[in-house]
């Protein structure tokens, strides 16, 4: 059985005097033990809200979460707030997007690392400090003993993200959620951080959920990919299958908008017309319909059902008219270049 099982997860933001907004709408996915899963989508697609819902880090007020989230044998939505605090940081940990703001500026790096070890591993501060130093060394921070005594602002962005990663893996969680962990970093650093994440996950055998807008990141890291659009998963597939044969017009558009050096149509970059704001509510039809080149009359009138792609096990798409690209994609080679 899968380690993380998300079933029909729906997150609704309700604000007094305003129409409720459904940010996540019936999302279902599994993450097996030690498996790496990517969730891809534009900003506003609901991918970050999904990850925060799994962590139960959404504000309690004006937010309604339904469905079920099971982690191992625990039903996360049924846990008390206090019980959830035991789960966070120990069983499931999270890495955030912006390492500049995600660390507390007035506490030393060591203190922020030590407190999570003391909290979950029941160690003394002295023991935790030794662990912390080893952790910093493991995530590739030179001179860890000195860095422990320093404050976040004394570290570069890449170093800070390494510290964030050290904090996340400190208690050897069985699931790691990374929400756009490289977006705020320099391009040269991005690849290093991704390599580090891949090594750590392989080494510890923990599962990984990678939240990103960048298909290239997913290609080099994940076994399975879910593409989200306007709060719903529109396509799920093994990474290789997705890159080889994108079925949903949105996925296809995303893949084709990645610039390639060997592109025949030199100089012309594919774009998806319109913007994320041009959506149809799912109950009235496909949310992507206004931006879709393949749309037909039947795309309106109720949410399109999900169906399996013939000849591709585990490849599911929420579209009645999936795309069949003429040329088999050269997916993997390209994505490694951009990672």
């Amino acid at each position: 059985m899968s380690f993380l099982r998300v079933r029909d997860l729906t997150v609704t933001f309700t604000r007094p005097g305003q129409a409720p907004v459904r940010a996540v709408d019936g999302v279902t996915f599994d993450v097996g033990s030690g498996q790496s899963v990517g969730i891809v989508g534009e900003s506003g697609s609901g991918k970050s809200v999904t990850s925060l819902a799994v962590m139960r880090l959404l504000p309690a007020r004006n937010v309604q979460v339904t469905g079920s989230i099971e982690l191992g044998d625990q039903d996360l939505l049924a846990l008390s707030a206090r019980q959830m605090r035991d789960v966070r940081g120990r069983d499931v940990a999270m890495i955030f997007q912006d390492p500049m703001t995600s660390l507390n500026p007035v506490l030393t790096v060591g203190r922020q690392l030590v407190e999570v070890i003391v909290r979950h591993d029941g160690r003394s501060v002295a023991e935790a400090r030794r662990d912390a130093q080893a952790l910093l060394e493991r995530v590739g921070i030179p001179d860890p003993a000195r860095r422990l005594r320093e404050y976040p602002h004394q570290l570069s962005g890449g170093m800070r993200q390494r510290v964030m990663i050290a904090i996340a893996v400190a208690c050897r969680p069985r699931l790691l959620i990374a929400d756009e962990p490289t977006t705020a970093l320099d391009v040269t650093i991005q690849a290093q951080i991704l390599d580090l994440l891949r090594d750590l996950v392989e080494e510890s055998g923990s599962a990984l959920v990678m939240i990103t807008h960048d298909l290239g990141v997913v290609a080099g890291l994940c076994e399975r990919v879910h593409v989200m659009y306007s709060g719903r998963i529109v396509e799920s597939a093994p990474a290789t299958g997705l890159f080889a044969r994108p079925a949903h017009p949105y996925t296809d558009g995303l893949l084709r908008s990645i610039p390639r050096i060997d592109d025949e149509e030199r100089g012309m970059l594919h774009t998806i017309r319109g913007s994320v704001r041009d959506v149809v509510a799912w109950e009235h039809g496909c949310a992507f319909q206004p931006r879709c080149d393949h749309a037909v009359e039947s795309c309106l009138g109720g949410p399109p059902p999900v169906h399996d792609l013939t000849g591709a096990p585990g490849h599911r798409v929420r579209c009645p008219r999936p795309v069949h690209p003429a040329t088999p994609a050269t997916g993997t080679g390209r994505s490694e270049g951009s990672a």
Binding site: R85, V87, R88, F96, S102, L103, N104, P105, T108, R119
Partner: protein
């Protein structure tokens, strides 16, 4: 850190020099000129002439300023027109009372203001938040001396719970080695005297605390609200830290930084407000002496008071800045 302190001390010099020039200009501009002002309106022409010569009023302006500065550094402000004693002696005798009052008021403001501000932020948008915000707006608006009246009227005159005026029961015979009456009782092993001094201190301290209290509530609320929405608090939550740990180490610790600065600035309100509060409660500190000095046009006293209070205010804020540097690692390095 030492360099940071040193740099802060250097910045003090232009402020203090500027302050002294301001005060020098003020003395020169006093009605009847500085000599007349220092001697009072009933001074004989001979005395005025004598003091004018002593002040060197016929010398160039810069020379007079240097002389003025020399006296200011020695805290020589001349004799009080109220008592004929040197101003600095009069002030030294009354300073403990004012400091005791200011500290008591600050303690009230901080110990009540920070929890209330935190509460308002945590209950943001609820009726409790609205009540606290409205009360703090009222707090900055009510004139200190009117609040002092009200407190005196209700708790001293009508209910009779607390004494109406003074620093201690006039019938009591307590010794005062330090001048801080509450402390004196402890030092001399006379708890009854301490208690007596405390009961006299409560009403003036509450009245004086009103503005700083209101300001601290609002600042704490705003600051906590800001910090609560910062990313690093979410990180702390993601680490599974206990709620109490997050509040203490990740919210309050950060939110207190701007509050520290505001507390420093409130010292000005406390020291200047003492002039009003002490007068209502006949609390014999420097503030009351200053208020009496204004009525009697006792310019040497006014001059001394302004200089001493302004310098204390500047020093307190420098200390607050240094404390801020200790609390916030980002300031120290830059």
């Amino acid at each position: 850190m030492l360099r940071f302190v040193f740099r802060r001390l250097l910045q003090l010099i232009p402020i203090l020099l500027g302050l002294s020039i301001l005060l020098f200009a003020w003395v020169r501009a006093l009605p009847g000129g500085p000599a007349q002002a220092l001697l009072g309106e009933r001074a004989t022409p001979e005395a005025v002439e004598q003091i004018e010569a002593q002040l060197g009023l016929d010398r160039p302006l810069w020379e007079q300023y240097v002389q003025f500065l020399g006296r200011a550094v020695r805290l020589d402000f001349g004799a009080s027109l109220q008592t004929g004693q040197p101003v600095i002696e009069e002030m030294a005798r009354r300073f403990p009372a004012t400091i005791e009052l200011a500290i008591a008021a600050l303690l009230i403001a901080v110990t009540v203001g920070i929890p209330l501000g935190y509460l308002a932020a945590r209950r943001y948008g609820t009726w409790l938040d609205s009540v606290l915000v409205s009360a703090s707006l009222l707090g900055v608006t009510v004139p200190i001396f009117f609040l002092a009246y009200l407190l005196k009227l209700v708790f001293a005159v009508q209910l009779g719970w607390l004494p109406t005026a003074g620093r201690s029961d006039p019938r009591a015979r307590a010794e005062h080695p330090t001048g801080f009456y509450v402390l004196d009782g402890i030092v001399t092993g006379d708890p009854a005297a301490s208690w007596d001094a405390l009961t006299h201190l409560i009403l003036p301290a509450v009245a004086l605390a009103s503005i700083p209290l209101a300001v601290i509530v609002r600042m704490t609320r705003a600051s906590v609200l800001t910090v609560l929405h910062e990313d690093h608090v979410r990180t702390a939550e993601a680490k599974g830290l206990l709620a109490g740990t997050i509040v203490r180490h990740h919210v309050l610790r950060n939110a207190m930084l701007p509050v520290t600065t505001v507390i420093g600035l409130q010292m000005g309100v406390l020291l200047a407000g003492a002039v009003l509060t002490e007068t209502v409660f006949a609390f014999s500190g420097v503030g009351k002496f200053m208020a009496d000095g204004i009525v009697q046009r006792d310019f040497p006293t006014i001059q001394g008071f302004i200089l001493v209070i302004a310098v204390s205010y500047v020093l307190v804020n420098m200390i607050v800045d240094i404390v801020y540097g200790l609390l916030d690692p980002r300031v120290r390095v830059s």
